[in-house]
């Protein structure tokens, strides 16, 4: 009899904790999304003001092409199919071409803003954070409007997105509401940066996703760019704090972001090669210079 009471009490506790956690996650997400709500009244005015040419540069900085184009296998621009191995299984990037059925051609700019800033799909579900919305959460309105204009101008490719092959159940997606409370800032602060370089590095370019350590729950809690011994694909990713880069000049970094060559004359491979080739190589030299200058500044973690 005592055992039964004990069991019931424990079961009740578990239910209370579970419900509270979900409620807490829900409340947090509501607050977070309200903080960005100004964006979701994006009217047609902003939509039509989007500049596709600038938008391509946003896409390059944000790594959209490197992740959503299967260059190695000759895949079409933004048609998806790139695999990303992680401890949670293999994520496969979806088609984000302007195709209305396979891609995101039927999206509004608000839906894109929801995805980037809040990590929410148009159907209201949470994205798996393989899509780096914890970094995109600070993206500026104009960048999103421009990116939207460019995405909509790309060739529509009718090619269904492949499924992820995950080791965690689909049901775990619900728990992402709680996960976001740890990693997505509640306030929308796109102007909190010292300048363009810091904004690009911390925001769209999402350097911390690979160059910072992940914690127990698979998120980047401490955004210091002090490297990650267990990066994507099991490779070790170097530290890129100002101290770690002490032997690099700003010019060296700019050159690296343009063609992938280190000061010693070696050429990078792995994911970084794609980040450069599909991304930073196409940025304006002013943007590369800004990123390099920020990485070398004391603001970028003076300690190792």
């Amino acid at each position: 009899m005592r055992a039964l009471w004990l069991f019931l009490a424990m079961a009740l506790c578990a239910v209370v904790i579970g419900v509270s956690a979900v409620a807490y996650g829900h409340a947090y997400n509501t607050r977070m999304e309200q903080a960005r709500s100004a964006l979701f009244t994006f009217s047609d005015a902003v939509y039509s003001a989007g500049d596709p040419e600038r938008g391509e540069s946003v896409a390059r900085a944000a790594g959209c092409i490197a992740c959503h184009t299967d260059t190695e296998n000759g895949g079409a621009l933004l048609a998806g199919g790139v695999e990303l191995d992680s401890p949670f299984g293999t994520f496969v990037s979806p088609n984000i071409t302007s195709d209305r059925f396979s891609g995101i051609g039927s999206w509004t700019v608000d839906m894109l803003a929801q995805a980037l800033l809040n990590g929410r799909r148009p159907d209201g579900k949470h994205y798996w954070p393989a899509f780096p919305y914890t970094a995109y959460a600070v993206m500026q309105r104009q960048d999103i409007a421009d990116l939207f204009a460019w995405l909509q101008s790309t060739d529509p490719i009718q090619e269904a997105s492949p499924e992820h092959e995950l080791r965690i159940p689909e049901l775990a997606r619900v728990g992402l509401g709680l996960w976001k409370t740890l990693y997505v800032p509640v306030d929308y602060q796109p102007d909190r940066f010292s300048g363009r370089g810091e904004y690009l590095v911390e925001g769209p370019a999402h350097c911390a996703e690979c160059h910072a350590r992940r914690d127990l729950f698979g998120g980047v809690a401490d955004r210091q760019l002090s490297g990650n011994s267990r990066g994507p694909e099991g490779a070790s990713v170097p530290a890129i704090t100002a101290v770690a880069l002490r032997d690099w000049t700003i010019k060296d970094l700019e050159f690296f972001l343009e063609i992938g060559m280190t000061p010693e004359g070696d050429f990078t491979g792995g994911h970084m090669a794609a980040v450069i080739e599909q991304g930073t190589a196409h940025l304006s030299s002013a943007d590369r210079q800004a990123m390099a200058a920020y990485l070398k500044s004391p603001a970028n973690g003076g300690f190792e």
Partner: protein, 156 residues
């Protein structure tokens, strides 16, 4: 010039001490390439003065190496799994792609050599010469990262 040679010899001597045989041979070859790339890169970054002779030497080294690449990666046990090797098995499972990258590198390096010898006799300013070399060097170098991206083990 002498400084350059000393640098090449020294960097070969200290690099890749744990490797031997074919692995050491190709790592040393890559090291030489890196030295040349660094010298040209430093010019383009304006760390050093523009020096067309050094560009021509680099282009010659790139061409020779590009032609050697397939032979430096034989499909043998020592080549596949030798100590210290960073060569990925994809080299041998996707051999045609691997060779195509090496060929493209050789061709792009020949174009760099042609440009370097053309401007050697031309009357452009160093500034202008540097600009044409930059374009040709970037073109040749895309095969370096392109190849490392798929075929080299990345480690810190």
């Amino acid at each position: 010039m002498l400084g350059l040679l000393v640098m090449l010899v020294v960097s070969q001597a200290i690099a890749h001490t744990g490797a031997s045989g074919i692995v050491k041979q190709r790592m040393d070859a890559m090291g030489v390439l890196g030295d040349h790339a660094r010298i040209v890169g430093d010019m383009l970054k304006r760390k050093t003065a523009f020096d067309n002779d050094a560009v021509e030497m680099a282009a010659q080294a790139f061409i020779e190496h590009g032609e050697q690449i397939p032979a430096l990666f034989p499909d043998t046990a020592a080549s596949r799994t030798g100590s210290e090797t960073e060569a990925l098995p994809a080299i041998w499972t996707e051999w045609d792609d691997f060779v195509a990258l090496a060929t493209r590198f050789t061709e792009d390096s020949k174009a760099l050599a042609t440009i370097a010898s053309e401007i050697n006799t031309g009357e452009q300013s160093d500034e202008e010469k540097s600009r044409v070399v930059r374009t040709a060097f970037f073109r040749a170098s895309r095969s370096c990262s392109g190849c490392h991206e798929r075929f080299r083990l990345e480690q810190e």
